[in-house]
Symmetry: none
Subunit: 195 residues, 4 copies
DNA sequence: GATGAATGAGTATTCATTCAT
DNA sequence: GATGAATGAATACTCATTCAT
């Protein structure tokens, strides 16, 4: 994330605008977002994009890294919240809310490009697992749920909503509510074992 | 679906191979799947693809129609099953299972090409709503769930699993289990109202 | 023109319909006329087109040959008409009139495919030259005009008219009138010598 | 014609080479000239063609505009020449001479793409009509000739010559001579009235 | 003999990436 | 350092021609 040596002021400004623009374009058009559009939205030249990120894939990885990093930070903060169940819910809400701007699908596609990214992903995973364990200990969620389950399911509400044209902006909360109720211990049925 | 007049034997074989190959390629590469790759996978020439389907969009619509049609059929059958709750779960399992080869995202993208497709989509929606209503009357699922919720959520398990590299082939069952538990009346919390 | 051995009745019918359709399609769309459209217009299958003419070029040559042959016939008949000047004008009118269905541009593009075509072209040239010589002897046209001039200029009126969208169907007569007046001896200026 | 702001040196060079190559390829192969061939002839990449002109049609329009603009300029200049008949002949000679590289057929095919083109075409028409009127007043050409006649007929010599393989490069002068004699008042016959 | 399904080379156009300015 | 012009591989689609039915 922090580059090897400090950037010149204008370069830093460009890098920031670039990441923001890329995040928005990727959110709007998926992986098909064109470098030209990203550059235009950032108000810089196409060549400058490639000066900052040698390929489009690396740019994508940087955008994803930004997201993951923010989520990992939040997850660590919530570890000290008083109500573990509420903390987990709050985390999932925050994740879904931010994600609306950038489908975490990209998590899937941005692997192998950047070691830092893999590290940050691990940190996120660790923090979420801790959140989940606390919630389980508090009896807020059923015991057969793992951190990975939460990571995976927190992506679902936005994905689900993406099928609805002109969806109200907080429709995702409905699906997060349902899914979170599925995580609760009340009325839980044993989950199928997976081969 | 069934073409106007019977196809020549080779044409029928090609059409079948083409739909299968298209389904697989679209599943693997999304809408970016190239016609050339589809043709190669089907073992036919590029031109033959266009003889059967005048544009890539129409081909996509045909693939999607195949899926939707099968699902609608199943949903109608399950309307007469003895246990309404089990029937709904079975439907969602079948949907998720078939969908593993073709992300229903395509539901979203293949509109407007084919009237038959729109009709079949409506039929699917009607049948699912009936399934849901029966399950609600039987007390198998909470009363604030709609047919649309089910349609949307039944897409989630596969999406969720798509983030897992080398996932076991039935991992999706785990997430369907969790989500279905979220649909149950036990321990249900009121869902957030949506603006 | 006459094929090596007599065709079966249906084949002959097809061949005739094919030549007619090809003539019309070439007239309407130029060399870009598609074999599929020609076949459709003739009411026969595409494969049958290729049974009669091994390539599109050969089909074109056959169409052109038909035209040339008809013109050559007419030119020979007019050699015995009483007024040589009127005969030449009549020939040019007939040529332009028929040509409206098939731009003789094809004369240019259909060479080298068919010996018979080259022969017939020669016959046409001979007959026209004779028509011109008679007209010159009668003082109806200026002496520095050759048969080739007439061949070339008789194509011009239709070409000229092709630039006019929605041209009245006999606009070409206006331009043939002007050009023919240019062939007359009255007011003729010496033509530039050509290197 | 002159672009909005000065092009970089290399871009200007490319643009010029591109227009030249396009003009030649269109002349040689008509509208079927391929963009790839044009690019190759210009010595630039295919993509560069599309940077300069967003579609093939626009490129064609640019080529045609170049021609028309030059002709309109010349026509306006000749309006002040001392001998109106000679001025008209000179104009037609120039038109035919330039046209040898680009059949004005394109006048017909490049419409609707470019407003400037339509305007320039109108200017050309106005100037030619003025040239013709002056020549009529001077008695150099017959009174029943219009500006449109001249526009149409000035295309004819090159078309006529295009049928002659290996034609001497100034053969068109011969046919322009004949046609121009047809425009003269001496020996003019009434033109057929057109429905 | 006739048909039309299959083929694949060819076309216009896009876009990530490189490089001259 | 920044720019945007140039590049060419890739893509959807067409059509003359071949060949199984």
């Amino acid at each position: 994330m922090t580059p090897d040596r400090p950037l010149r002021a204008d370069a830093a400004r460009n890098r920031y605008a670039l990441l923001k623009a890329a995040s928005e374009e990727f959110a709007a058009h998926g992986l098909d977002a064109s470098v030209a559009d990203i550059a235009r939205r950032a108000g810089i030249g196409k060549g400058t994009v490639f000066r900052h990120f040698p390929t489009k894939d690396v740019l994508l990885a940087a955008v994803v890294l930004d997201r993951i990093d923010g989520l990992a930070l939040l997850a660590r903060e919530l570890l000290t919240a008083p109500d573990p169940g509420a903390a987990l819910l709050e985390f999932m809400e925050a994740a879904a809310g931010r994600q609306r701007q950038l489908d975490l699908s990209f998590l899937r596609d941005a692997g192998g490009v950047n070691d830092l990214l893999d590290d940050t992903r691990s940190e996120l995973f660790t923090a979420i697992t801790a959140l989940v364990d606390r919630a389980k200990e508090a009896g807020a969620i059923r015991p057969d749920i793992t951190g990975m389950d939460v990571i995976l399911l927190m992506c679902a509400p936005n994905h689900v909503v993406s099928f609805v044209p002109d969806a109200p902006p907080d429709l995702w909360r409905r699906y997060l509510g349902i899914i979170f109720d599925g995580l609760r211990p009340e009325g839980a049925r044993p989950l199928p074992s997976v081969s």
